[in-house]
């Protein structure tokens, strides 16, 4: 094991996969010379000449190009600097990437990875702080992962690059500097579609995504002090969902709280909650509680922003509500 920062483990994943497969290349804004604004692609430019491209600010074309480059023998990894710019990529994802393997009856594979980062809490304002997980998770044909630990960041990114279909990797700006133990060696793969039990509990299951997992852990600590035993599940893969893990946990606790940093209405938490109704209704003793952003743009000033980003206090309160 080596203690690494989340950004470093992503960097290692890229380096290892580029070394392993000459068809892997990376491109995006400011990822070459500068190594990315979050330094995830640091030094790759020098190490892999001709396979690292700084691009113009052209997200729509870049994503469409990634799709077609993937159809024709390469494995592109595209960085979209902020999740807030994902709307610019959506035609390529919705009308291209997710369509052709199916309508051409499997004649083409589309092995490309789109990495981006979202999330708020540090005053980046309404256009640089959103979590738009639902936008990509709704598209059939895409896989969507959201690692929280450095080990998962490495293992899931490597798995995403090796996957033969399009995979969206949702990172979080407040996770890049977090540290954690990462297994040594260049064969760390985390299977896409498997949740991770962060903390076992008996009374209520908290299903969380991305940085909200860390808030859920804090909530579980607070609840433990009140004698409530909360189980925290990091979904890790937003799609395809690990339904077994969800149902197994609810079978134990009979109560569920779902947490996602995106909007509530039509959001990822809404889908989770509906999925739980579909598959575990009979196991529940109370309705599912959702913890999300309120349905509004993210304000800039600290006293405003801090009130809209979901946090441990709101998760704990939701857990108390479902248990009441």
């Amino acid at each position: 094991m080596t203690v690494m920062r989340y950004a470093e483990s992503l960097n290692a994943a890229l380096r290892e996969e580029m070394a392993r497969d000459p068809n892997v290349f990376v491109f995006g804004e400011d990822i070459g010379t500068y190594g990315g604004v979050f330094k995830v692609t640091r030094d790759l430019n020098g190490e892999f000449p001709g396979r690292v491209f700084d691009t113009p600010i052209s997200e729509q074309a870049l994503t469409a190009m990634a799709v077609s480059a993937a159809m024709t023998g390469t494995r592109p990894v595209l960085e979209i600097m902020y999740a807030d710019f994902m709307p610019l990529t959506l035609d390529a994802l919705i009308n291209q990437a997710s369509v052709f393997s199916y309508v051409w009856e499997g004649q083409v594979d589309i092995p490309f990875v789109l990495r981006t980062q979202g999330g708020g809490g540090v005053g980046t304002g309404a256009q640089h702080a959103k979590s738009l997980d639902a936008l990509v998770a709704m598209i059939p044909g895409l896989k969507v992962v959201a690692p929280v630990t450095p080990a998962d960041a490495k293992g899931l990114l490597k798995a995403a690059i090796r996957d033969n279909g399009p995979v969206i990797v949702l990172e979080h700006k407040l996770l890049y500097n977090t540290r954690g133990e990462v297994p040594d060696g260049d064969d760390l793969l985390v299977e896409i579609g498997r949740a991770r039990t962060v903390r076992e509990g008996a009374d209520v299951s908290v299903f969380a995504t991305s940085r909200m997992v860390l808030e859920a852990e804090q909530a579980a600590e607070a609840l433990a002090a009140e004698g409530v035993s909360a189980e925290v599940i990091d979904l890790r893969t937003l799609r395809p969902l690990d339904l077994d893990a969800i149902v197994t946990s609810i079978a134990k606790t009979h109560h569920a709280v779902v947490v996602n940093e995106g909007w509530g209405f039509n959001g990822y938490a809404a889908e989770l909650s509906a999925t739980i109704m579909d598959h575990a209704f009979d196991l529940l003793d109370a309705p599912v509680a959702r913890v999300t952003m309120p349905d509004m743009p993210i304000p800039y000033a600290e006293p405003l922003e801090s009130q809209v980003i979901p946090n441990a206090a709101r998760i704990a309160e939701a857990a108390r509500r479902v248990l009441a």
Binding site: P56, I57, S58, G123, Q127, A301, L304
Partner: protein, 324 residues
């Protein structure tokens, strides 16, 4: 020349440039002391573009700008105190702290507004020009945008329609040689972005972006044409970003000699040279000292102003008064 600024206008533009610079320097210091809410995109060295262009507009005209818009805000006549208050997330800021420094809007001055989605201000101003045409009034819309933004798809689409429909819009390309960390040469195969005007059937002109009088004259001519129904103009103002992309830029990609060459052509120093004979040293010094003192006072007031309070479903938030 027909559109040369008068002596009064030149003196006023000088005052506004000194005001902008004083704001930027103070913001840089406060960032270093950890007192700003996140990084700031300073416009040092580019004051002549934002100030010269907007001073040529009429009171009723519209303008859009970018994430780096402090010179445009000040040039357009917005109050330093309320700009600064917004940057520090105060209730008295132009957006009550909801927007932050990249999203300042003041509809009463046609400032609609700063925008942190690169390129978004370009079709925005084009749409305002369409609205002007539909309403049949004689306003003009102007967009100030970067060399990076010039590479976006929406820039091309908007300019095409502006040329096609002869819309009353002025495209002011502020070519500061960098899009974030990527030099112009890494973003476009041509160093003559102005050449694109031909492809859209509109006149294009290059101007020294560090010469406020030249920017003003070029803008005034384009505004005239637009108001007379003769359609859009592309102005490429050549300037340079002498500070980093933002206050958190780690640097290392700008050639120090290049920076030094441009610092030697400081737009404020050039403007002072041009005014010295007409105004005399004493008057010039007083204008500058008064501008700086006013900025000091504006910071003092803005920093003493109250922070906003959060209300869910506040006025002008989505679903004001409660969700439906």
């Amino acid at each position: 020349m027909r559109n040369e600024p008068s002596l009064d206008t030149r003196a006023e533009m000088h005052r506004l440039m000194v005001t902008t610079r004083a704001i930027e320097i103070r913001l840089g210091e406060m960032f270093r002391d950890g007192q700003t809410r996140g990084p700031i995109h300073r416009c040092d060295g580019q004051e002549a573009v934002g100030v010269g262009a907007t001073q040529a507009l009429g009171d009723e005209d519209y303008v859009t700008t970018t994430h780096r818009g402090h010179h445009v805000y000040v040039g357009r006549g917005l109050e330093p105190r309320r700009i600064i208050a917004e940057i520090f997330g105060r209730a008295t800021g132009y957006c009550g702290g909801r927007g932050g420094h990249m999203l300042v809007g003041d509809a009463s001055r046609g400032m609609l507004g700063g925008n942190a989605i690169v390129g978004a201000g370009i079709p925005a101003a084009t749409g305002m020009a369409l609205s002007i045409k539909v309403r049949g009034d004689n306003r003009v819309a102007m967009t100030v945008f970067g060399d990076g933004a010039a590479q976006t798809g929406i820039c091309h689409e908007a300019m095409n329609m502006a040329g096609l429909w002869k819309l009353p819009v002025v495209f002011l390309l502020e070519n500061n040689r960098y899009g974030l960390t990527v030099p112009q040469s890494g973003q476009s195969a041509t160093d003559h972005l102005v050449d694109r005007a031909t492809g859209y059937g509109m006149p294009g002109t290059v101007v020294d972006g560090n010469d406020v009088g030249a920017v003003y004259a070029a803008a005034a001519e384009a505004i005239d044409r637009a108001r007379k129904g003769e359609g859009p103009t592309l102005i490429e103002a050549r300037t340079y970003r002498v500070e980093g992309f933002s206050t958190s830029d780690m640097g290392g990609y700008q050639d120090p000699d290049e920076v030094a060459r441009w610092r030697a052509r400081d737009p404020i120093a050039l403007s002072a040279e041009g005014l010295r004979d007409a105004l005399g040293d004493n008057l010039l010094a007083r204008i500058e000292a008064d501008a700086r003192a006013a900025v000091d006072e504006a910071f003092k007031q803005a920093l003493a102003d109250p922070l906003p309070e959060f209300t869910l479903h506040a006025a002008s938030a989505p679903y004001a008064g409660g969700p439906r």
